[in-house]
């Protein structure tokens, strides 16, 4: 089927779906530069011919009538929605000139450049910043994946998550991760595991299908994760359920850990987690005595204070039980094209510039080749720099595929900063509440419009590859072109050329050849093969893969102690919880969690895709029937969710899946509503989430486990 031509007009292009980051194999049927159909690629080792709804609806994304097709320059007032079409040359010249001017006047650090969810360009973005000389690269890693990477670096010496290996596990712990909706392509491997008789432990405040069939479901209080993890470690050590051989040979600081967790008894954790102590013990026993076992940690843990320290505790559970880098356990993540984040060219940024980074995630950058990348916190310190010029002015923001007006907490603060920033460039597929604020809007290429060395197609989404492969890399092949859309790499290439900064290339093909150099193939060759495979090696730590100072898996981290952070994870209560803020809880008595995955949407994307919106048309807030009765709310009522930051409304879904003391609201905006705000103030839950205080190490805000009150919207307040 590959490359076949059906008739003179229709062609079939084999490429990789990137409607999320899963990277499933697809055949795009294309006629006259239009995708007429998408089919799963049965040869793809992960997806095996299947696709999820986001991939299956891709023609409605690519050929959506509202797609941005040309670069636009703002002609009215900021946010007024008046634009003129400009050419790419004009756009590049103007952006280069403005950035150059700002760099000369205020220093390169006055420029923030970054991305939203990675679409295979994370390294290019960081690389551009490093060569431009700004330490202020931004990547929303502070609340997604970053905590896993940072704690990985400090725990086992690689800035990568320890991914679960469902393929051979006998006990899966889904911790704040509803895998079958987050990474639907992994579902089959999980259900296969059940059919093999694998145990399942689910830690989730919501009843999901996984929770409903779990051996143990811990309906934890949102925010209680670190207490639960520490009390499970207490039990595993106290009852001597740990793998003594692995701990003695490969772990550092066991005695310190043992002493450290002595106080964290399940009885201590009971009121914090809302879980019976005996159930915590039972869970620890089931996990520790079933071999092999894997933990699948999710962003629920990361969108809280203490994010990376809690992740560290989860990794420690895997090490204590000897489940590191063994089939069915948790896998050390090592890409075949060199280390993850290695193409950021961190060395290109002079140390004196790096030292100027605005407060945030980069504080925990080890400056080590296996360390996490630089990234600045998109949050209060950056907004302050824009609004007050302190510690120095930030004058320009350049964002690719990023929608922080919907995705970041505390929308009001984001908007204030964007109103004030001198020069804002945003690239995206559509007009969003963020592009509406820009001076120049660039049309980004969707995945069928781009070729890539898909090394960022992560095994996180396809852990099952690890059966046979160690991080396969796939070729994406461009199938269509809509308007004048361009992919980020080309934009960086062109700007680097005009601004005379190093590190980039004349053509994208040269960049691809550069990426492929370590494996000795060219882009032309790779494109034909479509996949690079490398056999899996288990127990890689035996070959020196723990890049920690001790060369071991570190329960106790000297590096962290030197940097002024707790060397072992501690229990930290979130800033706005019934425990830490009992006065606030009197007015806002319910615990609010936000942003669980809706299976037909990815992050803030796709609300405008008709086939997907039809399935999930309006934002829903999940409320327990008892709570709903108490507040006089019926199924389908519009309900205000109010926190100290403001209020938005979503539609009531009355369900037993949630604890009566907790409500859950989803991320939302209305692409169809008029700009500049597209209905965010009506229903985007991040209007009411909390950006500060944030985690001191990496800047994670609190988007899960806040305090709110709810009440029915009156007739006039509906629409």
């Amino acid at each position: 089927m590959k490359g076949a031509t059906k008739n003179s007009e229709e062609k079939i292009v084999k490429t990789i779906c990137f409607s999320c980051r899963g990277g499933c194999g697809v055949f795009l049927h294309v006629k006259n530069n239009e995708i007429i159909r998408v089919e799963g690629d049965p040869e793809h080792p992960g997806s095996k011919g299947t696709l999820c709804p986001k991939g299956l609806a891709v023609k409605q994304l690519v050929h959506h009538p509202d797609r941005l097709k040309y670069p636009l320059r703002r002609v009215g007032k900021r946010g007024e929605g008046k634009w003129e079409r400009i050419s790419w040359d004009q756009a590049f010249d103007e952006i280069a000139a403005r950035l150059q001017d700002i760099k000369e006047k205020y220093g390169a650090e006055a420029i923030v450049q970054g991305i939203g969810t990675g679409r295979n360009h994370n390294d290019w973005s960081a690389r551009f910043c490093n060569h431009l000389g700004t330490p202020n690269a931004n990547d929303p890693m502070h609340f997604c994946i970053g905590p896993r990477c940072v704690s990985g670096y400090f725990t086992f010496g690689i800035a990568a998550p320890l991914d679960p290996h469902y393929g051979a596990t006998n006990c899966l712990v889904a911790w704040g991760r509803n895998e079958i909706h987050s990474h639907p392509s992994n579902g089959r491997y999980i259900f296969d595991a059940f059919e093999r008789g694998s145990k399942l432990i689910v830690v989730d405040p919501r009843l999901t299908k996984l929770a409903s069939r779990a051996d143990i479901w811990l309906q934890i209080r949102p925010g209680g994760d670190s207490a639960l993890a520490l009390s499970m470690i207490h039990t595993i050590i106290g009852e001597e359920l740990y793998d003594k051989e692995f701990v003695a040979k490969w772990c550092y600081g066991f005695d310190e850990l043992k002493e450290h967790v002595e106080k964290y008894t399940p009885e201590w954790a009971e009121p914090i987690t809302w879980l019976p102590a005996e159930k915590i013990r039972e869970t620890a026993r089931l996990y520790a005595t079933t071999k092999p076992a894997c933990i699948a940690p999710g962003v629920a843990v990361e969108q809280q204070m203490n994010s990376w320290q809690t992740q560290r505790a989860l990794y420690m559970m895997a090490a204590l039980t000897g489940n590191i880098d063994v089939p069915g356990g948790n896998i050390l993540w090592v890409p075949p094209l060199g280390g993850f984040f290695l193409n950021c060219d961190n060395d290109a940024l002079p140390p004196e510039q790096r030292a100027k980074a605005i407060e945030g995630g980069c504080k925990l950058n080890g400056g080590h080749e296996w360390g996490p990348p630089n990234f600045v916190l998109e949050g209060p310190p950056l907004w302050q720099a824009i609004l007050t010029g302190k510690p120095y002015p930030v004058k320009a923001i350049f964002w690719m595929a990023h929608n922080p007006m919907v995705g970041l907490p505390n929308t009001k603060a984001v908007k204030e900063a964007l109103e004030k920033v001198e020069f804002l460039v945003v690239g995206d597929f559509f007009m969003t509440p963020t592009t509406e604020m820009a001076d120049i809007v660039l049309p980004n290429a969707t995945w069928p419009e781009r070729s890539e060395v898909g090394w960022f197609t992560t095994p996180l989404e396809h852990p099952q590859f690890w059966d046979k492969d160690e991080f396969p890399v796939f070729a994406w092949v461009k199938a269509v072109q809509v308007g004048e859309s361009k992919q980020e790499l080309e934009i960086y290439n062109e700007l680097a050329k005009r601004m005379k900064i190093g590190g980039f290339w004349d053509t994208m093909e040269e960049a691809f050849d550069f990426l492929l150099k370590p494996v000795g193939v060219t882009w032309e060759e790779f494109k034909k093969v479509g996949i690079l495979r490398k056999p899996m090696i288990w127990r890689k730590f035996e070959h020196g893969l723990f890049h920690t100072p001790s060369g071991k898996f570190e329960f106790y981290s000297e590096r962290l102690r030197e940097l002024g952070y707790p060397p072992m994870p501690e229990y930290v209560e979130g800033p706005e919880s019934p425990i830490s803020a009992s006065t606030i809880a009197r007015e806002y008595p319910l615990v609010l969690i936000t942003g669980s995955r809706i299976p037909v949407y990815y992050h803030t994307d796709q609300r405008n895709i008709p086939w997907l919106r039809e399935i999930y048309p309006v934002p829903l807030i999940e409320i327990h029937p008892d709570t709903a009765a108490e507040y006089g709310i019926k199924e389908g009522d519009w309900v205000f969710i109010e926190t100290r930051r403001g209020r938005v409304k979503q539609k009531a879904k009355i369900t037993l899946s949630i604890n009566p003391r907790v409500v859950h609201a989803v991320r939302w905006w209305y692409p169809e509503k008029p700009g500049p705000d597209h209905g965010i103030w009506e229903s985007s839950i991040n209007v009411v989430t909390l950006d500060s205080p944030y985690d001191p190490g990496i800047g994670s805000p609190t988007m899960r486990g806040l305090l709110c009150k709810i009440y029915k919207a009156t007739e006039e307040e509906k629409w």
């Binding site: 999820c52 609806a57 079958i180 259900f191 069939r213 299976p599 039809e614 399935i615 899946s657």
Partner: protein, 196 residues
């Protein structure tokens, strides 16, 4: 002629809706008609447990379809494979004020014939007969990540039903099933649950 059916083992359904969008694409459907749907069962208390399941449903391809029986112009027919098909031209040419889309009300199952306003016809699952003719699986079957849905001759499906413990359920109730004799059969999870 070999009779086809669909077997839905919904123990493995993860509620991702891939099948629904696969169906939308295959049939080039506008917003409105949803030939394939994934229903949620629960969450509900069953014994000591809180249970939820996802249930994929579509046209049940009855041997005696009530939709066909009530259509005043005979636009709904059974083909030689036992697939329920709509004669699109006949349906389109019929004044809907006249027929009152009686087929929709006549269906006792969760997904009755679906009205497509763009084409002014009702539509239902046709087991992707055009794909089957090309030697491919129906789109929902092919794209289902967890392999919940099996397509094939009813004889072979019966074998699978036996292999999996001969447990099937009657989505839509026992009485309609006896009368209508659907070619789409659901195998439930072994866990306890109730169907409402």
């Amino acid at each position: 002629m070999v009779k086809y059916g669909l077997l839905i083992d919904f123990d493995r359904c993860q509620g991702c809706n891939a099948c629904e969008v696969a169906c939308k694409q295959e049939n080039e459907l506008p917003v409105g008609p949803r030939l394939k749907q994934v229903l949620t069962i629960g969450p509900e208390n069953v014994g000591q447990r809180l249970i939820m399941e996802y249930l994929p449903v579509m046209c049940m391809h009855c041997e005696n379809p009530p939709c066909a029986a009530v259509c005043p112009v005979g636009a709904i027919v059974k083909d030689a494979h036992g697939i329920t098909l709509v004669n699109e031209k006949k349906c389109h040419d019929t004044d809907k004020d006249f027929c009152k889309k009686a087929c929709i009300a006549a269906c006792p199952y969760p997904v009755p014939p679906q009205y497509n306003p763009e084409k002014d016809i009702v539509q239902m699952c046709n087991m992707c007969i055009q794909r089957v003719g090309r030697g491919e699986e129906p789109s929902c079957v092919k794209h289902c990540i967890n392999k919940v849905i099996t397509f094939g001759p009813i004889k072979e499906l019966s074998k699978i039903i036996q292999e999996r413990g001969n447990r099937t359920i009657t989505v839509g109730g026992i009485l309609p099933n006896v009368v209508c004799r659907p070619s789409v059969v659901h195998i439930p999870p072994k866990r306890p649950y109730t169907l409402e």
